[in-house]
């Protein structure tokens, strides 16, 4: 069930919060846990394995942390717990990718040619990439003494499964929410403010991301080889904005839902498109994921304090994993590697010029961001090559190109493109924080909310790009 679905907004949400606020404080975590499992079950109808895995995973991590408290063999328990978490992630997300790649490899090695390993064909459970990372952070924090092992199964279950961030984050280390799980204050302002964030996020998702997505989809439907160069650029800019508003909107909704319940979930985006370098971009884009990789991989490996060579190695490791985390496909590996190359080059070569001259940094990012998203968006490497051939048409004209296609699609989507550009700058959100609670803001958000509902009602919805994990 997506946050941006009528079922969620008009059935789940009112029901959940009605019961939630009727209950006494002590029962609210149980209700949150039950409702979250129901939320997940509804979203994975037909795949009972997903729900079972979630519950099982919660149980294993809960018990592992408790055992760690008492046992002398804490390290062994940590290793086993992490092996379980990442083992599940590997089997469900990467096994077929590995087998498929091996099969492809065998094709190149004569003695092995003809060998074809059977694929497992497992469906990817929704949210597994997110809750696995949360569970892992919990075990590591308990092991390192940064967090207490949770004694209450309900509280731990509510932490791992809470529906606002179950399917797509924000990834929150246990220490950050533990206090709130035990004791949190509910105020009308928190409900109001959370609901406003929810409405804003919904608007970003439905009114911007979905509309921009239509433009990008058109490029695919025309066929990458047949778009004009202006349309190719228009399309990839549209996709860049789509993925931002999609995920940023989702995160705002999640944070808003959390705040309504009294949680302070961390924000995930800080106007990333205003960054001056790739390095900065990744501190401001999907911040909770970046923080996870920083805290649990980069710094344990030595971070940037063990010399240049090791720093580069650590960056490479982090970006290979970040790429793979985004999807089990070679284009994501390529995407991670390219990000690594850019970030390493910024560190070693030109990063300081970009930050010294902001105009230069902005120009650099305006070119780099859409190109990186193209590598991210197009999972077939041949298609990717074709598409780059249209972005940079040195290889000759495309196939059957309709030269004025960009005029046609520009006329269709100019409003979403302009609004998207505006909301990519930091200014609208700065203004929003300033006037939040004013009548003007209230009216604006009411319009945004009901306009979004109207669009959903019309059936122009499509799933979160980021839920494909």
């Amino acid at each position: 069930m997506l946050f941006s679905s009528l079922e969620f907004i008009f059935i789940f949400m009112p029901l959940f919060f009605a019961v939630y606020f009727l209950l006494k404080n002590g029962l609210r975590n149980i209700w949150l846990l039950i409702a979250s499992l129901a939320f997940y079950a509804y979203g994975t109808v037909g795949e009972p394995a997903a729900l079972i895995l979630l519950v099982f995973s919660a149980a294993v991590n809960y018990l592992a942390a408790l055992l760690m408290r008492r046992s002398a063999r804490r390290r062994l328990i940590l290793v086993l717990g992490l092996a379980f978490d990442f083992g599940c992630l590997f089997v469900f997300k990467y096994l077929d990718f590995l087998l498929g790649s091996l099969n492809a490899l065998f094709g190149f090695i004569p003695p092995l040619r003809g060998i074809s390993l059977p694929l497992a064909g497992l469906a990817l459970p929704i949210g597994i990439s997110f809750y696995t990372f949360q569970a892992a952070s919990y075990l590591i924090d308990v092991y390192a003494g940064r967090a207490e092992a949770e004694k209450s199964a309900v509280r731990f279950g509510a932490y791992l499964c809470m529906f606002p961030r179950l399917t797509a984050g924000p990834i929150t280390p246990y220490g950050a929410v533990t206090r709130r799980l035990e004791n949190r204050r509910h105020t009308l302002w928190k409900v109001n403010s959370g609901l406003m964030d929810f409405a804003l996020g919904l608007g970003m998702k439905v009114l911007l991301a979905n509309q921009l997505g239509r433009l990008w989809n058109s490029v695919g439907y025309i066929g990458y080889e047949s778009v004009s160069t202006p349309l190719a650029w228009m399309g990839i800019f549209a996709y860049s904005m789509q993925i931002y508003f999609d995920f940023h909107g989702y995160s705002l909704m999640a944070v808003g839902l959390g705040r309504m319940m009294g949680f302070d979930l961390p924000r995930n985006f800080d106007s990333p498109y205003a960054s001056l370098s790739m390095t900065e971009f990744w501190r401001r884009w999907h911040m909770t994921l970046g923080a996870w990789f920083r805290d649990y991989i980069y710094i344990p490996l030595g971070g940037s304090r063990s010399g240049k060579a090791k720093t580069i190695r650590n960056l490479l490791v982090v970006w290979l994993f970040t790429g793979l985390w985004h999807g089990a496909n070679w284009n994501f590996v390529l995407w991670g590697l390219l990000t690594f190359v850019l970030i390493a080059a910024e560190k070693l070569l030109y990063g300081r010029f970009l930050t010294a001259k902001p105009a230069l940094g902005h120009v650099y990012m305006i070119i780099v961001i859409p190109l990186m998203w193209a590598v991210f968006a197009i999972t077939d490497l041949r298609d990717l090559f074709t598409f780059f051939g249209r972005l940079f048409p040195f290889g000759g004209p495309g196939v059957n190109v309709y030269a004025l296609d960009y005029v046609k699609y520009g006329k269709m989507h100019w409003a979403a493109l302009l609004a998207g550009l505006l909301f990519c700058t930091p200014y609208p959100e700065r203004l929003y924080r300033k006037i939040k609670g004013s009548p003007l803001c209230t009216v604006f958000l009411l319009i945004v909310f009901w306009a979004s509902i109207y669009f959903l009602y019309k059936g122009l919805d499509d799933p979160f790009v980021y839920c494909k994990f």
Partner: protein, 389 residues
């Protein structure tokens, strides 16, 4: 206190508006089947070019791998073609000799689509488009009468095959329609009798295409830029005479005014996909009305009523409205409007068929519209399906 209420007015106002919206949403969420059907249909109306609702995830095959004849054929028609060579050597030995006999189908045509003719008969005896032939008498007695007596007119009979066989090389690059036989088999009488022949591009100097988004695609990506296109996304038989379209040299115009302004010698109509989901009989009646009105407005034109392009297997199997059985049913009724004299039926589907009566998934990204590059073979095919005036 006052400021606190004002500050928190969002939650209050939202709750109030919620209550107002509940009846509306209840209808949507717990709506009856009819409601759903209607809303889906109207959505399709508005959003036909990019039906996001029906995103077809199976587009991995991607545009980078255009299907080549041999390949795609292999997957689909293998069982039907044990004696392929013999057939291509001697088309008249097919299982439908009476028709083929009339015209000396050029054997130079080589292994194009025609040779497969007839074989799938046993494999797929009834395509949904076919009932047209059997049921025709009840619905359109006049036309069928003509159709039944037609064979006596000699040469024209079987020239549907001939046209297929005549097909110039471009066609053979595409799926050599393993169901080629289906063309022969399913082709309604009118098409079979028509004197279809290959024409040059200038044939379309005086042609008008009327249609929905698929025709818009043909205008943008096809080769026939000398024709006029009265086409708009979402156009249906219900809106054909109320929509305004910009025509070069004429400006924004309705169809009636356009036909009064320019005398077209050939008029192609391809409508119907947007109408699915509406009451079927009304659609068929309205379709006939539209064709009749065009006939009246352009009395000397040859009218081509065109089959609606299929949708992909992925979409067809999931969509309760926009699926190929529904499209075939409608196409069958459209084909019955043809009289073989001035109104002819054209069916592009075999060109892009996946071998099972669906639009090949290699040809489409959204399951409904062709990739741009496939509009070229479409216009090439139209060049082989001219009717000499």
């Amino acid at each position: 206190m006052k400021s606190r209420i004002l500050k928190n007015s969002f939650v209050v106002l939202l709750a109030l508006t919620y209550l107002l919206a509940i009846p509306l949403l209840a209808a949507r969420l717990f709506g009856t089947e009819e409601n759903v059907t209607a809303s889906v249909a109207s959505t399709a109306h508005a959003a036909e070019p990019e039906p996001l609702l029906y995103n077809d995830p199976g587009k991995d095959a991607g545009p980078a791998s255009p299907p080549d004849g041999g390949d795609s054929g292999g997957g689909t028609d293998a069982p039907a073609l044990p004696d392929d060579p013999k057939q291509s050597a001697d088309p008249s030995a097919e299982e439908s000799p009476p028709e083929a006999g009339g015209t000396a189908a050029p054997d130079t045509a080589g292994p194009s689509s025609a040779p497969q003719g007839g074989t799938p008969e046993t494999q797929r005896p009834v395509q949904t488009g076919m009932p047209g032939e059997e049921q025709a008498p009840s619905t359109a007695p006049g036309e069928t009468g003509a159709a039944e007596t037609a064979p006596s007119s000699g040469p024209p009979s079987g020239s549907g095959d001939a046209a297929q066989a005549d097909t110039p090389p471009p066609l053979t690059e595409y799926p050599p329609d393993p169901e080629g036989g289906a063309v022969t088999q399913d082709t309604p009488p009118a098409q079979r009798r028509g004197t279809f022949s290959t024409v040059t591009k200038d044939y379309f100097d005086t042609a008008l295409f009327i249609g929905d988004s698929r025709t818009v695609g043909l205008r943008e990506y096809g080769d026939l830029d000398n024709a006029d296109y009265f086409a708009d996304v979402g156009m249906s038989v219900f809106s054909a005479f109320s929509t305004k379209v910009s025509i070069p040299g004429v400006g924004g115009t309705g169809l009636e005014n356009l036909l009064g302004t320019i005398v077209y010698e050939k008029i192609y109509i391809m409508l119907g996909i947007n109408e699915l989901g509406y009451d079927y009989d009304t659609v068929v009646t309205k379709y006939a009305e539209v064709v009749g009105k065009i006939r009246d407005l352009a009395p000397d034109a040859i009218i081509f009523v065109c089959a609606n392009l299929h949708v992909s297997e992925g979409r067809s199997s999931k969509d309760s409205i926009f699926n190929n059985p529904n499209i075939d049913k409608l196409n069958g009724d459209i084909s019955r409007l043809a009289d073989g004299e001035t109104i002819f039926y054209l069916d592009i589907n075999p060109v892009f068929d996946d071998g099972c009566g669906n639009l090949s998934s290699e040809c489409t990204g959204d399951g409904t519209h062709l990739y741009a590059k496939y509009y070229k073979p479409w216009s090439d095919w139209l060049l082989t399906m001219g009717i000499k005036v």
